[in-house]
Symmetry: C2
Subunit: 335 residues, 2 copies
């Protein structure tokens, strides 16, 4: 886990400076604060604006989803740390196009608190703000306690559907309804094989044996459901899907989109080996697949591992998922 | 370097089966041979067809570039092994749309030999074939011996420009001229921090100290220019760019596209930290940047490291680079 770094304390700012230097036609920062990122064409008048934010170290989360058909702005935190409420508020003001702002973020204590504070600041300036916290990791709390769950890679689906609705001109209540609907229709679970080194910390975030895996681990190394011997790819996928399917539940006749998300250092080859088994299990369950995403959508630096997310589709979500989108990290033509 | 695997000997076939299961609207195999991949709509009548091929373990190389605006087919080899001439020939027949076929591959002995044999087989069936071997890694042989150089991530630019020309209806001579021109206008260099484990081998491909890097290493672990203590990101980039710029040479007033390519487990954050320094150096040299690609374009399983490629643009290459493209691994709207 050697790293290409300059000073560890500059890791986040240098990353964002590189992103801004590479994509000046698509992204901009507010003033000289590289931790407040907005679309280069912000604010878009007459469009509901979407903002997100969260800790760094998860690219393309979070700022990688700022762009056409997705989000309007992002507050950038330190590695695995919430951004400040002040920065969320600055982003809010910069992207507000007159029709309100929806915050979409992961269900983590610091982010929830800071986005609440930012919403209060926005309210004092008569900017209407609504919020949605993604919380779809089935390993992070049992069924019945969904409000305690973490948000992981499935937040991509919330961004995608709500972002498409906003791009189409939907009002704030409608964009929020879509975010809630997409979030309620997605379930995720991950597995990790290795820890990460946060640059400013300089040592592994946890230890795990050479022959071990941890099923259900979070993207910051939060404890999972169980730790055990590393199984075959097919066994791991079978266990994960076996927890995801009954949770929503997904069932015969359903149509889904599947996201197999690499956490950092697991090669795409292994992600596709995993998807092969996902497809086999879904076919056996009578669940059909509309669109498959395989790649890195929400990472944890150089962690080895992956997550699986399933989104249950209806006509409305399918139409929104199929719309085009374009950011420096994600492009999709109309499906 | 723990892996999600079933039987190591099934690694390649299971990977490709996963890709075919995930993207059936875009890719297909020939008969039941998953190591012969073509566009789902092959053959495209009246279009020059492009084929590639090479060892597995480099996704999105090679088959990830099969799609609209890029390639028509790909022969898939074992991990780090050339595919057979027979498979290259099968792909050739399946994609030929009546206007000839261009082979574009990396300059490796096995691939060169097998594509030559495939071209001879095609000739016997009156399919006209031309070839271009990418060889742009400045670390792999000195200036003056360019024909001995390896092809690495810069082959992406050859695919992109030649693929766009073919999509536009250019004839085989013209598509070959574009491939040669793009290939002659690109220079690359890489740096590695860690070895890889080939699944069927089960042990690291080489050893490197915990505080060491190897500048100029190839994507199969071929020896580089020098091994030394791991430097800062800025120092590493400065050394790499310092060898790339004088090689073509690139100079004041030039316009380039830049590709910062992750080799596998190096996070996108670090790739952007590297690009930040690339942009600074190019600005200082009076070289302007048209389009920047940052991500994984040619990997080596879970190797830590990255490469930098520069493509010198003129009006013709810029127009071709800007054209849209769409594969399961790469999408670009018209720039």
């Amino acid at each position: 886990m050697k790293k290409f770094l300059n000073k560890p304390e500059d890791f986040v700012d240098e990353t964002v400076r590189g992103i801004l230097a590479a994509h000046p036609d698509q992204l901009a920062c507010i003033g000289d604060d590289v931790r407040c990122i907005v679309r280069a064409d912000a604010p878009r008048r007459g469009k509901v604006a979407l903002a997100t934010g969260g800790g760094s170290g998860h690219l393309p989360l979070f700022l990688g989803y700022v762009g056409t058909g997705l989000l309007d702005g992002c507050a950038v935190g330190g590695v695995f740390q919430s951004p400040s409420a002040d920065r969320m508020f600055e982003v809010t003001k910069a992207i507000h196009g007159g029709r309100g702002v929806l915050y979409v973020f992961g269900n983590y204590g610091g982010d929830v608190m800071n986005f609440e504070m930012a919403a209060e600041m926005a309210d004092m300036e008569d900017i209407r703000v609504e919020s949605y916290a993604a919380a779809e990791d089935v390993a992070s709390a049992p069924k019945g306690e969904e409000e305690k769950r973490r948000g992981v890679a499935g937040i991509f689906y919330v961004y995608k559907c709500a972002g498409a609705a906003a791009e189409d001109g939907a009002d704030l209540d409608e964009v929020k309804r879509i975010a809630e609907k997409a979030g309620a229709s997605v379930r995720s679970m991950g597995v990790a094989l290795s820890p990460v080194i946060v640059p400013e910390v300089g040592r592994p975030s946890f230890t795990i044996g050479d022959d071990e895996m941890e099923i259900g681990m979070g993207i910051h190394g939060e404890p999972g459901i169980r730790r055990g011997k590393l199984l075959t790819a097919d066994e791991v996928v079978t266990e994960m899907i076996g927890r995801i399917i009954p949770d929503l539940p997904f069932g015969r006749g359903d149509e889904v989109s599947v996201l197999v998300n690499g956490l950092g250092s697991t090669p795409k080859e292994e992600l596709y080996i995993a998807y092969r088994k996902v497809a086999e299990i879904l076919a056996g369950e009578g669940i059909s697949v509309f669109k498959v995403y395989v790649g890195e959508f929400a990472t944890s630096l150089e962690m080895a591992g992956f997550s699986i997310s399933l989104l249950k589709l209806d006509g409305e979500l399918k139409t929104l998922l199929a719309k085009p989108a374009r950011t420096p990290f994600f492009e999709q033509a109309q499906l």
